[in-house]
């Protein structure tokens, strides 16, 4: 058991990150525990504790009598220094057990910039960084989360991955582990991994060998034998009402990023924005019933004492009977001080009315994501939103008393012209002017936040070559020059980080040594602006003689084989290609949720259906 002395805890920022014992944290007797599972996020406590997926898995795994799931997050720089100086290994927050004693360490991989932090956590745990170097009694390192749709750059660091939704797959995996252990661990580590590879949705990278052409092009990946599946399809929960889920979330003692109850209305979003990986990864839409949601809300309020519920989803306003649900929830909790929030607002006045009803007291800022500045560009990305929609929505908000609006945009999209870029500044100005028209006053604050587009695997834009640093910088400047109103506040992202994300998002296994070198050079917490250091990465590419441009700037041929295609959400390649062609032709594709099937192939390939209570009722 790891003991942190009080001098260490007194000297670090937020010591309660490391002391555990929160309300609803699960403590068990080791007697009768077959599987010890550490659930981790390669980020600090406040971020890790806010992740919905980990909360769900924590509860599901702990509902099993043979399993004890505990939590571990990345120690911040100050704590890491103490741990390294005093040889304190990374430990779990429930029993303060060092990581090496666990059977599994599971990492939730939310975005590419967390990769070096994974390596750092493995190192702090005393576990070999490379999967091939791990010993018989080392923990199995397992990954999950959105990054699994191109996991190849980190494949060599992991023993296995769960592709897709893990509620059922992880339980099946634990069953396989338990019987392997009971039988006396036949064939050792590889014996278990081979069995695990038979579980649907489990990818065991060491059982596959990538192949490259003489010119260095990736040509495909070969499973070790014909028993190992050539393609691993994502796992998906068909019935969101029946699946085991979170009812007693842990209540942290310190403030965290999302310090409230997350009530997951539905999974999936089929609006079909062509840049969006989540839109493909979580298809099809599957709603929870209102009855189930009210029941879950009641259970979670009673078990936590929280006073706020966030109605979480990729696009919450699309829940089929949201108005009724909100009314009923507000009624259920009318005698308690419980507030409700909508994390994602659709650009229409229905959303504004709802937001107004829910936040009757505080008028915090509203956030919309038009994503692009001109109608042409929005048509290219299939963002079915017009300027009129935005003005109607912001106008409705201004009438109700909102004074600050935040607008999200991207630059570097396919077919983008300078006119499209300047359109961002112009659209912001129109919103400012609209405030004066609607209210007859000044004093609005419009913040535009402009990020650099990163093409992602399994999207219509997976073939597209990312803009160069110079292009991004020029476009960022172009927007700046066209902002003429002092009510507009302009934020833009560091293009260097987006370019690196662009490399990793469509990379292959040849990037593993680069990630390793970057970590050796001191990289971790790359997602934190104050910790990111480009030099460490530049050096890492040089040291390994890898040209990053090959991965991010290169336009790919339509017949090129991609290194991510064997861990798939089930989308058809032909559909994505067709969407790219429609994008270039500025043609829209409708939401399949209530309209016709658009042929992405996911439902058919995976044998699942859309669950939409509005559609089912109609």
């Amino acid at each position: 058991m790891v003991h942190l002395t009080s001098d260490i805890l007194q000297s670090v920022v937020k010591p309660a990150r490391y002391t555990g014992s929160e309300w609803n944290a699960v403590h068990k007797e080791l007697d009768g525990i077959t599987c010890r599972f550490a659930l981790s996020m390669p980020d600090v406590y406040e971020v890790g504790m806010s992740n919905l997926g980990l909360k769900i898995l924590y509860e599901i795994l702990n509902n099993r009598h043979d399993t004890w799931a505990e939590r571990v997050y990345a120690p911040w720089i100050d704590m890491e220094e103490h741990m390294r100086n005093k040889n304190i290994p990374l430990f779990s927050l429930e029993s303060f057990t060092e990581m090496k004693e666990f059977d599994f360490i599971g990492f939730s991989l939310q975005f590419e910039m967390c990769f070096t932090t994974v390596l750092n956590m493995l190192d702090l745990s005393g576990v070999s960084i490379w999967a091939k170097d791990r010993k018989e009694d080392d923990p199995f390192i397992i990954g999950g989360g959105p990054c699994v749709y191109n996991v190849e750059p980190v494949a060599d660091f992991f023993d296995l991955f769960v592709i897709g939704e893990a509620e059922e797959a992880l339980q099946e995996l634990v069953d396989v582990f338990a019987s392997w252990k009971k039988e006396g661990r036949p064939d050792g580590r590889i014996g278990f991994l081979k069995r695990a590879a038979q579980v649907h949705g489990i990818y065991v990278p060491c059982l596959y060998t990538p192949e490259y052409s003489k010119t260095g092009m990736y040509t495909g990946i070969k499973p070790v034998d014909d028993k190992t599946p050539a393609v691993i399809y994502k796992r998906i929960i068909q019935n969101m009402d029946d699946v085991e889920t979170m009812e007693k979330p842990i209540v942290p003692y310190i403030d965290i990023v999302h310090n409230r109850i997350m009530l997951e209305l539905f999974r999936g979003c089929s609006r079909g924005c062509r840049f969006c990986q989540a839109g493909v990864a979580y298809r099809p839409v599957r709603e929870r019933s209102e009855k189930k949601l009210r029941e879950l809300a009641r259970k979670m309020i009673d078990s936590t004492g929280y006073d706020e519920i966030s109605l979480t989803s990729l696009s919450s306003a699309d829940y089929s009977c949201l108005g009724g649900l909100v009314d009923n929830l507000m009624c259920d909790f009318s005698n308690e001080k419980v507030g409700f929030t909508l994390p994602s607002l659709r650009i229409d006045s229905f959303s504004i009315d709802l937001a107004d009803k829910m936040q009757q007291i505080r008028k915090s800022g509203l956030t919309f994501a038009p994503e692009a500045g001109t109608q042409r560009m929005r048509d290219v990305i299939n963002k079915g939103v017009t300027e009129e929609d935005l003005l109607a929505a912001t106008g409705a908000a201004f009438k109700k008393g909102w004074k600050t609006v935040k607008l999200y945009f991207m630059i570097g999209l396919p077919t983008e012209t300078d006119e499209d870029v300047i359109g961002i500044a112009k659209l912001a100005k129109k919103v400012v002017d609209h405030y004066k028209e609607v209210t007859g006053r000044r004093g609005v604050k419009v913040t535009i936040s402009v990020s650099c587009f990163v093409p992602k695997a399994f999207t219509a834009f997976q073939w597209f070559g990312q803009n160069t640093l110079e292009e991004f910088a020029r476009k960022q400047q172009l927007i700046k020059e066209h902002i003429t109103d002092r009510s507009i506040h302009y934020n833009y992202h560091d293009a260097h980080v987006s370019l690196l994300e662009g490399v990793l998002a469509r990379g292959d296994r040849r990037l593993a040594p680069v990630i390793y070198s970057a970590w050796k050079n001191g990289s971790r917490f790359d997602g934190w602006t104050d910790q990111f250091d480009l030099e460490r990465w530049n050096k890492a590419f040089e040291e390994n003689n890898i040209d990053p441009n090959y991965y991010n700037h290169r336009s790919r041929d339509f017949d090129e084989v991609f290194p991510w295609e064997h861990t798939t959400p089930g989308v058809s390649r032909a559909f994505l290609k067709h969407e790219y062609e429609k994008a270039v032709a500025e043609q829209l594709t409708k939401d399949c949720r209530r309209g016709d099937c658009t042929g992405c192939g996911i439902c058919q390939t995976l044998g699942v259906n859309i669950v939409d209570w509005g559609r089912n009722r109609a």
């Binding site: 009080s6 309660a16 209540v251 003692y253 310190i254 403030d255 004492g305 929280y306 007291i361």
Partner: protein
């Protein structure tokens, strides 16, 4: 005239044990609030745009210090009997907080915050072979009229006389290589001294090994005019 909302004040004695010693005072207050919510007690909230629960504490506890005796008051809108409130709240308190006593406060009384005027602590740490030196240093501290300590906060550094806040003598006991100091400290509207500051002052001024790794500080009593806060008004 609108009828005044019914208000019943309850005062409780609670602990802050080792598991929670690194939770700040504000976060400690928040965890009690959540426990009150889970207990479904009909607690009163302030009016206004940002209503907050009517819950107050006698005295903030420094980070890293445990306590046998924190005092809090909350207001309920219903007149519930003591055993019911006690049991419902106790059942919802996390490890590291124990509700030791609870009573309904009748009649007018001052705010808890302004009642507390003295705190007593036990400070223990490993002597690392310096038992004698510590005994001498504590005696010197007790004999001194004034002890000027440099208090460093993120905003500024200032010098304060910490001796003015010490009631009587610091007592020292050594046993099994452990040193135990007992201190009674004044809480005044102008300020007070933290027990950790006294230890730091003594070890620094006497050149004792000041990298003591595991100091345990426990608040054993919090008093009003020499009496228990549960009975003060």
């Amino acid at each position: 005239m609108p009828e005044k909302a019914a208000a019943f004040t309850y005062r409780g004695e609670v602990t802050k044990e080792a598991a929670l010693r690194f939770i700040s005072h504000l976060d400690y207050s928040a965890l009690i609030e959540r426990a009150i919510c889970r207990a479904k007690l009909p607690v009163a909230y302030s009016e206004g745009f940002n209503p907050h629960m009517k819950l107050s504490f006698a005295s903030a506890l420094a980070l890293g210090v445990t306590s046998d005796c924190e005092y809090m008051e909350f207001i309920l809108s219903k007149d519930l009997c003591q055993p019911e409130v006690f049991e419902r709240l106790s059942a919802q308190l996390p490890d590291g907080v124990t509700l030791k006593a609870l009573k309904k406060v009748e009649g007018k009384h001052k705010a808890l915050m302004s009642l507390a005027d003295e705190a007593r602590y036990i400070i223990s740490f490993s002597a690392e072979g310096q038992e004698k030196e510590w005994a001498q240093a504590v005696q010197a501290f007790n004999n001194a009229e004034v002890c000027i300590y440099q208090r460093v906060t993120p905003k500024k550094t200032r010098e304060i006389d910490i001796k003015q806040y010490v009631i009587g003598q610091l007592e020292i006991k050594t046993e099994n290589n452990m040193i135990e100091l007992t201190a009674a400290l004044k809480i005044t509207p102008q300020g007070s001294v933290k027990p950790a500051e006294i230890v730091e002052y003594i070890s620094k001024t006497h050149g004792l090994n000041n990298n003591i790794s595991d100091v345990d500080i426990r608040r054993t009593e919090l008093l009003a005019g020499g009496g228990n806060l549960m009975d003060a008004h």
